[in-house]
């Protein structure tokens, strides 16, 4: 959801569909990183920003531990989203499935998202509290970049789970 779910999501999906149809990645400008790869890559960039910006070993260590938690949180929520979509597909295939069942499925997923977001915010504010104003410039930028890139990732070559 970089700008709009429809405009960006649809366009990206079509691009990926085309790539899949071509059975090649080179024709589409190179293989797009998977979500897992994106999480790993931008978590590492955040670690680098911390390592570069924070001179004190103690604070640096604490901040790097937080990044580990941020990374794990992204991985977990990815999995939860994959499971949600798979559950939806199964339910959607059932002509007789009730609205209440769908409402419950959506509600459960929403609860997981809100929980994950709350945890992410906790980690964000812990990170910000540990950084000085000068350090925060690079660290805050790298942190938001992680969120931006992960949400924009449209990984190819993976299954849905």
């Amino acid at each position: 959801m970089r700008s709009s779910v429809h405009r960006v999501g649809f366009a990206t999906l079509f691009t990926l569909l085309f790539c899949a149809a071509m059975l090649t990645s080179s024709g589409c400008g190179g293989k797009k990183p998977t979500a897992a790869e994106t999480i790993e890559r931008y978590s590492q960039k955040l670690r680098e920003a911390i390592s570069t910006s924070v001179p004190e070993q103690g604070r640096k260590y604490q901040m790097l531990l937080i990044v580990n938690q941020v990374e794990a949180l992204h991985v977990r929520f990815n999995q939860e989203t994959a499971e949600f979509v798979e559950s939806y597909r199964r339910l959607n295939a059932d002509y007789d499935a009730t609205r209440a069942t769908f409402d419950q499925l959506f509600s459960d997923y929403s609860a997981k998202r809100v929980k994950a977001r709350s945890e992410a915010l906790d980690l964000h504010f812990q990170l910000a509290a540990l950084a000085t104003a000068d350090e925060w410039d690079a660290i805050g930028k790298a942190e938001l970049k992680l969120y931006e890139e992960v949400e924009a990732a449209r990984p190819a070559g993976e299954g849905t789970k």
């Binding site: 959801m1 649809f10 899949a20 979500a35 989203t81 597909r89 295939a93 949400e151």
Partner: protein, 138 residues
């Protein structure tokens, strides 16, 4: 909405860690399951009765227009949330009103999505539905 056809199988991956987990259930499905344009294509292929087909396609178009408006709101709130979190001195209480707005919008989007799903289903037979949601990969 409908289940994906999985020529996209390798593509439909999941992940969707929206910005600060700021995407709703229907957003995940729209992005990772099947785009509206593809749904329309399948409907045109499966539903041969012109009146029913046009009615369903019209329902989808109305839904799309509504989702577009909500997407714009989401983009606006998300931008504000971004700016807020970028500031070192921001507090959780600064972000919470924006998240409340986002959650309310996601709920509207999810309900609209499910309303459409059931509206379409009510206009097709079980056999047609099976064809609409069929996944060639499975």
């Amino acid at each position: 909405m409908m289940v994906a056809a999985r020529q996209r199988g390798q593509v439909l991956i999941l992940l969707a860690a929206w910005l600060f987990f700021g995407g709703g259930a229907s957003s995940a499905l729209v992005v990772y399951d099947r785009p509206a344009s593809e749904i329309k294509k399948v409907i045109k292929h499966v539903i041969t009765n012109v009146d029913r087909r046009d009615a369903i396609l019209s329902n989808i178009s109305v839904w799309e227009a509504g989702q577009k408006q909500k997407d714009e709101k989401v983009t606006e709130y998300r931008g504000e949330l971004f700016k807020t979190l970028r500031r070192k001195d921001s507090r959780r209480s600064d972000a919470e009103p924006l998240m409340t707005k986002l959650d309310a919008t996601f709920l509207e989007m999810d309900q609209s999505f499910l309303n459409l799903r059931f509206r379409v289903k009510a206009q097709v037979t079980s056999a047609e539905w099976a064809a609409l949601v069929a996944r060639p990969d499975r």
